[in-house]
Symmetry: C3
Subunit: 132 residues, 3 copies
């Protein structure tokens, strides 16, 4: 009953997946959509979609709050953005549950659903979408 959504990422930053998730909704009478990232250094956020600057400010915030390559990190060896990526993912969360009304995500006018990639390089992220 669940579906898989694969998102390719090219380095740290957010990708608006609202349209992709909407396009996968299938169940006529579903009331809730659950989206789940199966990784620990990528996450999901819902935030304002009206201004790209807003998304840059969000990234600035996390960059300042969660040190990359902190020399005190014990968990090392997977790159400078790895441990910070785990912490960012904990702070933002791996899942979102969103109401479905008339077969579409019932987001507010200015809400977008974003996959937040926290690592560098090219990554393939697997999401699980469940409708209930």
């Amino acid at each position: 009953m669940s579906q898989t959504l694969i998102v390719s990422t090219q380095g740290r930053g957010v990708i608006d997946i609202t349209a992709q998730v909407n396009a996968q909704l299938k169940k006529a009478d579903a009331q809730l959509c659950h989206v789940f990232v199966t990784h620990t250094s990528a996450s999901l956020i819902i935030t304002g979609n009206e201004d790209p600057d807003l998304l840059l400010d969000v990234e600035d915030y996390f960059k300042k709050q969660v040190a990359d390559a902190d020399p005190n990190y014990r968990h090392k060896g997977q790159g400078d953005l790895d441990m910070s990526g785990h912490i960012r993912s904990i702070l933002t969360g791996e899942a979102k549950t969103i109401p479905i009304i008339n077969g579409k995500l019932a987001l507010g006018k200015f809400q977008g659903l974003y996959l937040y990639e926290h690592r560098s390089g090219n990554n393939t992220r697997k999401l699980i979408i469940t409708e209930l």
Copy 2:
């Protein structure tokens, strides 16, 4: 099947909506209640309801952690509490899912469900309540 809950807010701070949400529960055999805020500068938290000071300390924490009117913000023009409100909302989240037992939210004795308004002025916040 979902319902709308409108909450009027008067400036930054939390509003206990536990009783309001409980009052809207209708579905006899529902097991989960999902509450969703359709805005990007208001959010939901569940925290201790036994001491108003606890809620003031929570506000102090976010005020210290997320700068209002940071001169480095790119996203400006909607007031000093706007960009910080977006970041606070990301950190706390726009939705809560809570078990329902015997037709009521199965919160712990000291848990309250709060709408967290992050902006100044008077705002009308639309929440979507879904029972499953």
Copy 3:
């Protein structure tokens, strides 16, 4: 329909409850598992299970970001880790919703589900598990 899971904690830190939650899953056709902590100074996180050092770095992060026994806290009297525990719980959240596939939590290979105890001493934490 929901079940209770009791977890005994011995001071601040994380406890992997993935296997315990999996063992309680009963509903043949369930698609989602919702786990809810009924307390305000313990929470749930999903993060990497491949390296215990990662979990220590997570604790270091929260210890640095949320002051224990901050003299400015108004809410006092329940111990040095109490108010910080409430803030940590808000930042990490009291609930997780996880897809179920073939009767098991459909976590990624490196994802573990952890109860995060934020207080000192021995505590008995009651969780509610709901399958839908």
